[in-house]
Subunit: 216 residues, 2 copies
DNA sequence: AGTCGTCTTGACTAGTTAGTCAATAAACGG
DNA sequence: CCGTTTATTGACTAACTAGTCAAGACGACT
């Protein structure tokens, strides 16, 4: 099966893939359209033919990243009926997703550097963070009803918490490794960290833990 | 007191200040030496006279940021003898430090984007994260000895946890606000978030909470 | 085979950007 | 008050960078 000379869908996907890599590694300003074209073995004009400008290419890269995240989340099936086990699965899934595709973290950081400027320019942005948050909401509702979790847990808050604990560790790996002189990148160090996240989040969600509100 | 025409120390500081702003907002690649010079009302040559290259200027900016962090941490005095209250103070201090100087987060993200490349080029990098981590270590040791905290708490792990919870919320404010449709930037939303951090970290550190290790 | 619309390219440009050079002006030491 | 060191500048450049243009090649349909 020799590759066709003219294969627009394939060409478009290839540009998007190489652009994702380029922008994730070097940011929007650091990314070079010439380099993306060269890595695709295409003339630079193709980027402009399909995406019209560097900025619109970057927006397309962001859109595709969110789509990819959502699609992968859709494949995640939490089959257990134990809310505590389900929570643990969701946390481990989140960490693995960030670890296995580093472009997610780098592109999100880039977008936040620009205060959401490019994401706002995207039409189909609404309802990001779909499936995982829906599952978490379902898990927490059941956990609260069953009395396994403490009452009045907010799913978005819980999500933000373990998301922060997964994200920051991976995003700031390099400076933390230098500043703290601690191994952050080995498989075992990361495994230990996820275990810690599961422990602290479980403790926070499970019933039987005293509320500390009165202390403040 | 009219400003002297030749005031090298002042000039150098001004360049560093404007460069910090420029690189934090636009990153290393996005930052423009001409713009930094223009904002200082200086000719561009001054940047090269004092810092030799864009890269060395960026390294100087990073070094100065870490120094500033350390100096501010040194001013922080935790006077209480109650470890739980001390922990809360350290957490609130950390959040406020990140919130009040957004350049810290942006520069750290930039440095991690480059996998620590520039920080490694700095000579005087060792023993970053000084005073606050030392205080935390002291607080945790006392808390464990007094039986207020559970035994065998690792200070660096605790620091990484609340640091992640403070950092991620502020760093990813914009994308999260778009994706979740939730207010992240108002004073009250941020206050509620810090309260949550204090709650979850206190629960994790205080004795009397059951260890969950056996579950896994 | 010829025509049309889609896909692809080489060659070009106008503007920008990090970095340089030679000259000048202020402080300073004797 | 003169020579030297330290600060500061205007003018320049070589390389790069996003974006353009006109023309060519491929496939499909008649």
């Amino acid at each position: 099966m020799a590759r066709r000379h003219n294969d627009p869908a394939r060409t478009r996907e290839q540009i998007l893939a190489k652009a994702t890599d380029e922008f994730a590694r070097l940011g929007f300003e650091g990314g070079r359209v010439d380099r993306i074209a060269a890595r695709c073995n295409l003339s630079k004009n193709m980027l402009y033919y399909y995406f019209h400008s560097k900025e619109k290419l970057f927006v397309a890269v962001l859109e595709r990243m969110y789509e990819r995240m959502r699609d992968q989340q859709r494949d995640l099936a939490v089959r257990t009926s134990d809310p505590a086990v389900a929570l643990e699965q969701l946390i481990r899934y989140t960490f693995n997703a960030f670890r296995d595709d580093p472009t997610i973290i780098r592109l999100m950081n880039e977008e936040n550097k620009h205060k959401g400027k490019y994401l706002k320019k995207s039409q189909r942005v609404r309802d990001l963070y779909g499936p995982l948050l829906e599952t978490l909401t379902f898990v927490i509702e059941r956990g609260c009803k069953d009395g396994v979790f403490r009452p009045n847990l907010d799913p978005v808050t819980i999500y933000l918490m373990f998301c922060a604990l997964c994200y920051h560790y991976l995003s700031n790996q390099f400076t933390l490794e230098i500043a703290l002189g601690r191994d952050m990148s080995s498989e075992s160090a990361q495994q230990r960290w996820v275990d810690q996240i599961v422990e602290v989040m479980s403790l926070h969600c499970l019933a039987g833990s005293p509320s500390l509100r009165k202390i403040a």
